[in-house]
Subunit: 450 residues, 2 copies
Amino acid sequence: MRFELTKEYLDALRSAIAQQDVAWMKEHVFELHHADIGGIVDELEKEEAGYVYGLLDEETQGDLLMELDEDLREYLISTFSTKEIAEQIEQMDSDDAADLISELPEEKVEEIISYMTDNDAAEDIVDLLNYDPDTAGGLMQKEYIQAQIDWPVNRCVVELRKQAEDVEKIFTIYVVDDENKLVGFLSLKSLLFANPTTKISTLYRSKNMISVKTSDDSESVAKTMEKYDLVSVPVVNLQNKLVGRITIDDVVDVIMDEADKDFQMASGISENIESSDTVWRISRARMPWLLIGLLGGVFGAQVISGFEGGISEVPALAFFIPLITAMGGNVGVQSSAIVVQSLARGTDQFGSIFKKIGKEAVVAVINGLALSAVIYGIALIFDSSTLGLVVSLSLFTVIMFAAVFGTLIPLILDKYKIDPALATGPFITTLNDVLGLFIYLTIGMIMYGI
Amino acid sequence: MRFELTKEYLDALRSAIAQQDVAWMKEHVFELHHADIGGIVDELEKEEAGYVYGLLDEETQGDLLMELDEDLREYLISTFSTKEIAEQIEQMDSDDAADLISELPEEKVEEIISYMTDNDAAEDIVDLLNYDPDTAGGLMQKEYIQAQIDWPVNRCVVELRKQAEDVEKIFTIYVVDDENKLVGFLSLKSLLFANPTTKISTLYRSKNMISVKTSDDSESVAKTMEKYDLVSVPVVNLQNKLVGRITIDDVVDVIMDEADKDFQMASGISENIESSDTVWRISRARMPWLLIGLLGGVFGAQVISGFEGGISEVPALAFFIPLITAMGGNVGVQSSAIVVQSLARGTDQFGSIFKKIGKEAVVAVINGLALSAVIYGIALIFDSSTLGLVVSLSLFTVIMFAAVFGTLIPLILDKYKIDPALATGPFITTLNDVLGLFIYLTIGMIMYGI
């Protein structure tokens, strides 16, 4: 039932391509779901992929194009004539078509649009190109079904039949007034079971009608759809006129991209990259954080050099430098991760900052006491009881500071509308390194009486 | 149109509750979407929440219960009689009902089921309780619409009308044969526009019918629905008989939980916790990784103590210990994050391990050279050109090792079916700390000729 891509399959396909064995591909490739074909084509060399793509029917080509890797898509498009691109675009949903066009150079766009034979589709795309891609307007498609509130059911069915040609999946029928303002919705189910002469105005529901505005950002659209368990949401303009709809599959992509971005940012990667990107792009995306880490290390070196005399006298103090910095970093990252997540989820928004920090401090006291006790015992073995005291006292202090900073920094960033995911990862680690060193060496100097 | 929860609103509600002002609540609370009511109730004290909950109509109560915080839900249920719980459950979708029941003590379950008046619903729930909650069986609901392949459209509409009473959202009609085996699907749209005497067998589609098995794990269900852009997917048993369906809203929750889990694991938190959990639970979830970090620090101390003589002679060597360990950690986390993500997404599955490591190594050379050059200059200022050489040479070596280990370890974990998200975060950082120290101090000893 479901297709599984294997190495054997790919080898067989490759040799079929080499032999131009179209019959094999007809049986083993063309009958598959376009998502599977996309997965296959992405694994081929560009020339092979172009060959297979060219053999597909127009509808599948249209479904496929926006699902391919960007590099491959660029290559394929470079092999098409403007007229061919226009034909492909007419096969696509309006949101995908607009996304594709916005990737093309501007001078080509006008030419492509002029080649389109379906005037309505062309107009829809031109309209969609106006919106910022990270807003509801940029996510929405023009394929939706609407009914006028004063229609009877039988007229509605006739009108819908016309509209439904372009709309692959109908989830909800949006009900509008004579000014095209959104007033409510109607399920296909209620239409199916209704009397033909019943007026839509008695069937439709307006209570709890959820819609989004074209200018809402993608993340807030995703949150809305998730909160209200929606599979599609109507998009209205400032006058509350219905202009499009957003379906859940596009929003799932937004949610996953957002999660990826947070994960990467917490791992110290500043641009959204994939493992298939070029080494230059990957290197560049990592550099900013590494430079911050380097700077932190230099500050750390400065702190230690300030205590050079002490370390010459008690070299054992140097032993536990990595332990102190590592633990400060770990605790800081843990504390910030929880805050970052609850901010991203929008949960717990009314707890006060002081309550959160208080809670983190209690957790830090529990963990700090336990870990300090363990390390006191271990440090005794290494050197003297003085060293044990220095290390365990510093560790406890560092854990307390790290927990408080780890909680505070993402909250502050959020207050100033900076993505708090920045706070987890290298930034907090670096800050805690420098602070931890200072605490540790100061306590050391005092306890050793240097 | 959309409700926004503010502090002022909460204050007004609190005083309405104190004064038992039901009229205010009728106007300002009860008309809201149940998701909004859930958000409000979660912010109240338990007694307040229980009072508001008790005033809601049964349908809203049913919709709400599984969306509330677990603590609050437990409290509410403890205030209900067994009969009341049974009534609530009859208002819920079967998947939510089964989830609720599975949270209750076993001896209570039988009693609740016996109180249910709707026999079919009770049977559905008993059936759903058999499945592991992390599988398709555990996610699915019994509310779906099915049609027999040999029915004509008009019979189908009549039968569907009966079935549809229990099904809030119909996305697809599943078509089965006379043995209840899934053979294809039918859109409501095609039914709406079809001739009443047309047979379903000529209308339904079987090509690219995607289904999942009851035993498929939740993550694979999520991946399937995301890949094929599905809003609902039918669930079949081993005999390919239709037993349920899974809707996208439940899968969005799975996707978000999975992303949360990965993010927390990468941040060194071993259980899935929320900021509202108790301090004991939070402390416990963080302890394992902190202990690993501590152990790493102790190993690090051991490494440094092995070089004690050298550090007494050249105390400046100690200055750059935090820099070396921090950079090793940062590079390791960056490298592993990309691998972990591409593994989680299932992309790039056919690139060989060696190719991946090769690419990481090239990135590491680029970044390593750049950073080493910077640090050479800085270290010169601190001390001698020897120290500059030691630090820059070590930094380059550590970056290379960290990149290779960061790539390799998640791939190895994945090979042995261990969640590779474990590899990002403290584990890799700790390993690179110890390794980095050893490299740095060894190079130092050699260059200073100690």
